[in-house]
Symmetry: C2
Subunit: 256 residues, 2 copies
Amino acid sequence: MSTVICIANRKGGVGKTTTAINLSAALGVAGAATLLVDCDPQGNATSGIGVKLTDESPTLYDVLLEECPLADAVQHTAIAQLAVLPANHDLIGAEVELLNIERREYRLQEILRKEYDRYRYIILDCPPSLGLLTVNALTAADSVLIPLQCEYYALEGLRSLLETIDLIRERLNPDLAIEGLLLTMFDARNKLCHQVADEVRKFFPQQVFDAIIPRNVRLSESPSHGLPVILYDPSCRGAQSYMELAQEVATSNKST
Amino acid sequence: MSTVICIANRKGGVGKTTTAINLSAALGVAGAATLLVDCDPQGNATSGIGVKLTDESPTLYDVLLEECPLADAVQHTAIAQLAVLPANHDLIGAEVELLNIERREYRLQEILRKEYDRYRYIILDCPPSLGLLTVNALTAADSVLIPLQCEYYALEGLRSLLETIDLIRERLNPDLAIEGLLLTMFDARNKLCHQVADEVRKFFPQQVFDAIIPRNVRLSESPSHGLPVILYDPSCRGAQSYMELAQEVATSNKST
Ligand SMILES: Nc1ncnc2c1ncn2[C@@H]1O[C@H](COP(=O)(O)OP(=O)(O)OP(=O)(O)O)[C@@H](O)[C@H]1O
Ligand SMILES: Nc1ncnc2c1ncn2[C@@H]1O[C@H](COP(=O)(O)OP(=O)(O)OP(=O)(O)O)[C@@H](O)[C@H]1O
Ligand SMILES: [Mg+2]
Ligand SMILES: [Mg+2]
């Protein structure tokens, strides 16, 4: 039994990678076998969690184009129960090369399906766009977790993101659910933050996580040490809030 | 005589739109005829500067596919010398439809070339990706202004962005120059900010603007009022820093 959660939002810089890394780490530390898949050619999740690639290291690119089995590309992390399928710049090529392949949207789903017995959670970090890599991730996922920065442009992008999710549900992945909306970089002193948060809860009453991720400098420092915040500074508010999030995610996905 | 400047960085949320809006506004207020072109299907530059579109309003999508001349799509703003070519969600379709057209990378360049007599500056806001819309913008531009958030992931993305610019220069736009690297959301109390800033100046000694954009809540509030910060709160540090930037840009592009 495995739960595949896609972390997506076309708006840039809202905390997708920070959430993918720290949620995966918190699930791993709690004892659940977790795989973090970096679906962004920027490779921020790969470097943020401390994986160092050489020119020969296999990545998601090689796995998607069937040049290497997933198990050969997976790398270990400082957390025993957390493994990473890394990405690098080559992944940009996959968007072009997959265009000519049959069932190109199902590529990632078919690959991850074989790993369901090995991992309890599979977390997918997406780039800030709605291209073929994000479509592959949304097709492979059981649910979508949407990080939302509490800023003006955040609400604008939400409608078109939900329209895209509806399209994916109609054409590619009928069971795609919404895991929840996560308020990120929340600064309690900032009036705009409260206004955006109230608006989001009004429009999506059942779907906003109780856990709120505060703006916390330790979260932006931890990737420069190649560590999830839970290992970098476990007592900081950033680490606490991601542990709360992991708790909520585990509770709502408890296998009955 | 016109100068076309493209605001680009594949990393998301680094201040591309905030820079495009506020640099354009500062240039317009200083008396230079300026056109802001929103090349992002998110349409943040369009809404952030207060343009309200109806379902019938022509946008960059219609202009790119030659269904309407640019002059019919351009909208006025609260600043006499600043006009906007807006974008909305339809623009996503352009990435697909342009694929089948001859000289698809030169579309925007050919359209803007006709406007060189009308505008002293044309500022292009790009989405956080390196797809056909960003390629069109880089091909149409005289120079690229790169906003850089002073955070760990900023440096990572810079190398691949500069490689892309080199490719564009080799194949599509031989005169493409770098206008400069702009440090954004700078928080003087944060050690990491200073470290990243020092690193950027070390690698690119001549190319970092003197103007530094501070993290300033007025910059994130102004789009919710549909105003550039120069009109929303002219005395705040955010407005001052963008006026300084406009001064530097105007000085380095002084027509001799
Ligand atoms: N809660 C937080 N507090 C402070 N800084 C944060 C927080 N969350 C993320 N950051 C920082 O903000 C920046 C943007 O976050 P991140 O890179 O995770 O966003 P993203 O949505 O993955 O961006 P992209 O759209 O480029 O993929 C990063 O430099 C990150 O370290
Ligand atoms: N100097 C600043 N101080 C405070 N907030 C800022 C600053 N610059 C930008 N912001 C806010 O940070 C968020 C990201 O900025 P912006 O949307 O301009 O980035 P972007 O690079 O255009 O994002 P995208 O990659 O999605 O296009 C916005 O909510 C914006 O209002
Ligand atoms: Mg990311
Ligand atoms: Mg933008």
